[in-house]
Each structure stands twice: as structure tokens, then as C-alpha cells.
């Protein structure tokens, strides 16, 4: 399916325009304004999802497309680039925002809505979409900042002391991560003379190793800080439990995943050989992220703090997949990345489901403290069931998406010869299961310690439906991915193949590059996509 490449600008343009319109009417009377803002946001996220799906289908069937903003000749203008991985991320974030929207509509309090919660949601969406679709390193930094500014506001909107404490830590640590990204972009410009990602990819192969290592290291720190990897994750558990549950759910589906996506995009494109030579480092980071995340979760006394430590733990699995992406194995180069993408999608779905479910409990009971909850299974059997499924999906039980993701990752790490990390990931899965059982037990099992808040101040007439339905949909999606795994895996495989195909990226951005310029892989690395003999035999 071919489409006019101008549509690539829509994922940024739609949220920007509607968010701006939402801000424009800020001085109208409150009730009227809220009504209009909510309608605007509904239209915008719906349109965004439609555009994202169209883009995903076009990328899957027609291959990568690039578009130059303002029709400047590359590499002088800002490039936007779409391939299947971008399409998947756009669709997932669009889907999550569509599902979180009714939850927010039903539960957000008047004060937060008055301060502009809904337009800010759109700016968050705009930043995430921009970061996914951009093909320019500095532009990536700008969109990160848009994303972060929107998330700062969403995080501290409401202004309770705990929110402000969490907000300060979040802002400071993320700002330092952004500075590392800016510094990396600056060094890339200073040494390679360009900021366009395709152009950087072309020139990186001839750059001396110190330059590669410096840019790679800075980008690793910067994206690691956004994705909450091991030494730089401290902003996440100290801030995620403070805002409104809908905000936490939105963050868990968007923020860390943007960081991880940027790694998926940048490392295979700029320096795939570093993924091999730095494999011990990446594996160490991944293992420590997993272990520390899950051990941290055991010490946590509230629902959302526990779940936010699990976010960190799961990020380690994705890094593990990325680290083996370029290692030869029986499934072919890039299979690790495919599994990492699949796992990322699974994690977005399940983590958002858990945080929405837990958040609904927290809102209903008035507390998130585990030792004060209990016995909800009789009161809310539907919620208990879906939370149970989501919890076991996170732990990786069949027939959910977590099983497929973890099994695949295990298989690819084993067959790449990475025994240690595979063992660690199995161990962490076990701990995750224990932690999830503990969580479910504390919330739903046993004797009820307290009654739901009465009278419940209902922001919306059918609040129960609007808070439960998104979680049900997410859990069903997770089960669907687990049951019809092969098509999903094929999609992820296509995405991974497109992501590691550097020549296609460069060609899509600037078709006038000659074959000479496309000599972009060092000779010692075989980046062919021809299947390994064992893979052919396996089928």
C-alpha cells in the first residue's frame, strides 16, 4: 500500500493542533471548557490511532518511507522516517492513549481537569510520536524535551507534597539524561558533521573507534536514563507512584518505552558492531536491571510502587533482546530484536493493564497500601480475575503474551551462547511470579480490612464500566498475542529486519546516495538476512 508521504507529519500535527486548541479555550467557564477539551482530546486520540494504524499497515506492506519536513534536501532539513517498528510503536501508544482516556475521563478530579490535564495528555502524545518518527538526532532531543515537559506537568498537576517531591527528582534526573543526549548529538555533529540519522549511519563506519565509543556511550547513558536502566533508574520508583493512576499508567506505557525504542532505533542503525563488542556491558546492565528491579519490588508496601519497580525489571529483558540482536544464531540476525519488540509491546499492554487495575482499586479504596487492602475478590470478582490474568501475563505464564515473549527471548539468548543472562532472566521470572502472587494476594485475597470509600464521588455516571473496560480490553489483547503468536512474531520479525537494514534506511532517506556511500558495514560483520541453515531445517 502506498500513500502520500505527507501523512507522516500527521502523528505530530494532530496532537499539536488539538492540544493547542484545548489551551486556547482555557479562559472559558469551567464546565463548558472541560466539555470542549474532552471532546477535542477524544477526537485527537481517535484520529491519531487511525493514522497510526494506516502507517503501520503501509510500513508492513510497502517498506520504509522517509519524508523531508519543508521539502529541504536531505540531510539539511528534518527527516521523518517510518518503518514497521515505528508503526508498531505509534499504534501501541495510540491504542494505550485511547484506552486510558475513558479511565481518565471517569476518575480525574475537577482540580486536575481544571489545570489542563487533557491538553497535556495530547502534548505527551505529540512528544512520544515525534520521538518515534523523527530521523534527526537533534530533533529527537527536542521531542524528548516536549515529552518530558508534558510529563513534568502531568506528574505534578494537583500539587500534593509527595507529587512535588517526586517531581523534583524526576525533573532533575531526566534533565541530566537529556543533557547527555544533547552532548551526544553535539559530539556527533562536531566529529561527523551531520545530525541526520541516515547520514550519521553512513559516516559512522569510517569514524575512529573513540568517536564511536563516545557517541555510543553518551547515547547509551541518555536513553538508559529515559528507559530506566540499571544505574540511572532512580527517578522512576521515586516519582511514578505519586500522580493520578491514569497518569502513571500512561507514563508506564509511553515514557520508558520511548527510551527503549530509541535504543532499538539508534544502535542497530549507527553502530551494530558495538552491540557485539559491547555485549558483556549490555548484558551486565540488563541483568542488574532485572535483578535489582524485581528485588526492589519485594520491599515495596504500596501497589504502584511495587509495579513501578517491575517496570524497571522488565526493561532489562528488552535490553537483553537488543544485546543479542546482532549475534549470529540459528534464527537469523535480528531475531533478538524482533523478540525485544514483541516483549516491549507485551509489556506496554500488561503493565498498563496492571497499573489501571491497581489504580482503580486505589481510587476506590482510598489507599494503595498493601497491608490495608484485602478481600476484594468477593466485592469485585471481575477486577480480581482480570488483575490475576494480567499479573500472570507479566510473570510469563501461558497462554498470555508474556509467555511468548519470555520464551522467545530465552531461546534466542541460549542459542546465542549467553547462558548467564538466560539463567538470570529465568530466576527473575520466578521472583516476578512470587511478587505478583504476593501483590494479588494482598489486594484481593483474605479478609477485607476496609470498605470502599462511600459515598463514591462519581465523576462520571458509569464509572465502573469506564475503569474496568480498558483493563479487560488490554488483558484480552495480551491473551490474543499469546494465542495467535505466529502472526505477531512475523510482524515483529519484519519490524526487526527493517530496523537492522541500514542500507534501506539510508536509501529511503536519500535515494541519490551511490553504492559507494552505502558501503556502511564494517567488513568483519555479516549483516545479511539470509536464514541460517538450522532455521530453514527447523521449518
Amino acid at each position: 500500500m502506498s500513500l502520500h508521504p505527507t501523512i507522516l507529519s500527521l502523528p505530530v500535527a494532530i496532537p499539536l493542533l488539538f492540544g493547542a486548541l484545548g489551551m486556547l479555550i482555557q479562559s472559558l467557564p469551567l464546565a463548558r471548557r472541560l466539555q470542549i477539551q474532552q471532546t477535542l482530546v477524544g477526537i485527537a486520540i481517535g484520529a491519531n490511532l487511525v493514522v497510526a494504524v494506516i502507517l503501520l499497515v503501509s510500513a508492513l506492506t510497502g517498506g520504509p518511507v522517509a519524508y523531508q519536513m519543508g521539502l529541504w534536501v536531505p540531510p539539511f532539513g528534518i527527516t521523518v522516517y517510518l518503518d514497521a517498528m515505528t508503526g508498531i510503536m505509534l499504534t501501541m501508544v495510540g491504542l494505550l492513549s485511547v484506552l486510558i482516556y475513558p479511565f481518565a475521563l471517569a476518575t480525574i478530579d475537577a482540580e486536575r481537569a481544571r489545570l489542563g490535564f487533557f491538553p497535556m495528555m495530547l502534548f505527551l502524545l505529540m512528544g512520544a510520536n515525534g520521538a518515534f518518527i523523527t530521523g534527526d538526532l537533534f530533533n529527537l532531543y527536542v521531542f524528548y524535551e516536549v515529552l518530558l515537559m508534558a510529563s513534568f506537568v502531568l506528574l505534578t498537576i494537583g500539587g500534593t507534597p509527595s507529587q512535588i517531591n517526586g517531581g523534583i527528582r524526576y525533573v532533575v534526573l531526566n534533565l541530566m539524561g537529556s543533557m547527555m543526549l544533547l552532548l551526544g548529538a553535539g559530539i556527533a555533529y562536531g566529529t561527523l558533521g551531520t545530525l541526520n540519522m541516515a547520514h550519521i549511519a553512513v559516516r559512522m563506519a569510517d569514524a575512529p573507534y573513540p568517536v564511536q565509543a563516545m557517541i555510543g556511550g553518551l547515547l547509551l547513558i541518555a536513553f538508559g536514563a529515559k528507559a530506566a536502566l540499571f544505574p540511572v533508574f532512580f527517578w522512576l520508583p521515586s516519582s511514578y507512584h505519586t500522580p493520578h493512576p491514569a497518569v502513571t499508567a500512561l507514563f508506564s506505557g509511553v515514557l520508558t518505552k520511548v527510551g527503549m525504542y530509541s535504543m532499538f532505533r539508534v544502535f542497530p542503525l549507527f553502530f551494530p558492531w558495538l552491540l557485539n563488542s559491547w555485549q558483556p556491558l549490555l548484558m551486565t546492565i540488563a541483568g542488574l536491571t532485572m535483578v535489582i528491579g524485581v528485588l526492589g519490588a519485594f520491599a515495596q508496601p504500596t501497589i504502584r510502587r511495587l509495579l513501578s519497580f517491575h517496570i524497571i525489571s522488565q526493561i532489562g529483558y528488552m535490553l537483553m533482546g537488543l544485546a543479542v540482536a546482532m549475534t549470529p544464531n540459528p534464527y537469523g540476525i535480528g531475531f533478538g530484536l524482533a523478540l525485544a519488540i514483541l516483549f516491549l509491546v507485551h509489556n506496554q499492554i500488561v503493565k498498563t493493564a496492571l497499573l489501571l487495575g491497581g489504580g482503580a482499586v486505589e481510587l476506590e479504596m482510598g489507599t494503595g497500601k498493601l497491608n490495608e487492602l484485602g478481600g476484594l475478590v468477593k466485592l469485585r470478582p471481575v477486577q480480581a480475575t482480570i488483575f490475576f490474568i494480567a499479573a500472570f501475563a507479566l510473570a510469563g505464564f501461558p497462554p498470555t503474551s508474556g509467555f511468548i515473549g519470555k520464551l522467545g527471548l530465552l531461546e534466542v539468548t541460549f542459542s546465542s551462547g549467553q547462558w548467564v543472562i538466560a539463567g538470570v532472566s529465568v530466576f527473575v521470572s520466578l521472583l516476578t511470579t512470587m511478587s505478583m502472587i504476593r501483590l494479588w494476594q494482598y489486594i484481593f485475597w483474605g479478609k477485607p480490612h476496609r470498605q470502599p470509600l462511600t459515598p463514591r464521588r462519581q465523576a462520571h455516571s458509569n464509572q465502573a464500566l469506564m475503569t474496568t473496560a480498558p483493563v479487560v480490553i488490554l488483558v484480552v489483547l495480551s491473551l490474543l498475542i499469546g494465542v495467535v503468536a505466529q502472526p505477531m512474531l512475523d510482524v515483529a520479525q519484519t519490524a526487526a529486519n527493517q530496523a537492522i537494514d541500514r542500507a534501506a534506511y539510508v536509501k529511503a532517506v536519500n535515494p541519490e546516495l551511490t553504492e559507494q556511500d552505502l558501503r556502511i558495514a564494517p567488513p568483519d560483520l555479516h549483516l545479511s538476512n539470509t536464514p541460517h541453515p538450522a532455521q530453514v531445517a527447523g521449518r
Binding site: 507529519s9 500535527a13 493542533l17 493547542a20 486556547l24 482555557q26 479562559s27 519524508y67 523531508q68 491538553p119
Partner: protein, 155 residues
Amino acid sequence: MTEIYLRLVDKILTPIIILIAIFLFLRGHDLPGGGFIAGLVAASAIELTILARGAEATRDRYGPWLIPLAGLGLVAAATAALLGLYGGGFFRSIWLEFYVFDDKLKFGTPQLFDLGVMFVVIGMALTYLLRLSEAAEATAVKQAALEERVEESRL
């Protein structure tokens, strides 16, 4: 919080600074200047009003319009980008040139974008300045009350 001299200076200087801001804005694109600087200069003009008349009075006058102004700026920027579609691409600049008494005048979508930047900067900078000034004034009032109480207890 109302200094008589400052109020006089405010009355004279604020319109002049606003004019300078407009001048800087119109000068942009081809010469040093542009929306961001113009927005900051305009915000500094209104900061003078805050200093002279106090945050509360300024809030009464401008407060409700700050966020809509920033929104208007963003709408203008998005419109400029979308107008570019007429020229063939998103963010493609379109220029209109015409002559008035041998002087070339030109208007284009980059100027619209710049205007949007200016509005956003004014709106956001003033929101921030007003918030800080209000907090500072509240602290000052509290401090004065505390000192008064200390004086009383000493007597």
C-alpha cells in the same frame, strides 16, 4: 507593593518596550531578531508592570489570557506548518512579496510561525513570572507579620 516612581516608569516605559518587541519581531528572519527574543522582551515589559503594580493587579489584568495566548501561539505555529501543505509539503514556507512605493514587503508562513513562538513565550514566561512574584509577595507579607509579632512579644 506600589512604588510611585516605578508606576510612572511603568506607564512610560512599558509601551516603548512593547514597541521594541514588535520591532524585533518584524526584523526577524533576515536580520537578528525574531519571535523568541521579541516574546522575551514583551514579557520583560509586563514584568515591569508586575514590579510596579504588584502581582495581584497584573494577574487581574492579564492572568486569564496567558494560557489562551500560548494556545493561540501553538495554533498559529501548527497553522503555519499546515499552510505549508499548499506549497507542497508540511512546514514548507510560502512567501508573498509585494512592493509599496519601491519598498519590498514580504509576508510568509515562517513569520506566522514566529508570531506563534512569540505568543507562546509571552504566555509561558508571564505565567512563570506571575507565579513566582505571587509566591514572593506572599512570603514577604508573612515575613512582615512575623516580624511584627516578634516586636510585640519583645515589648
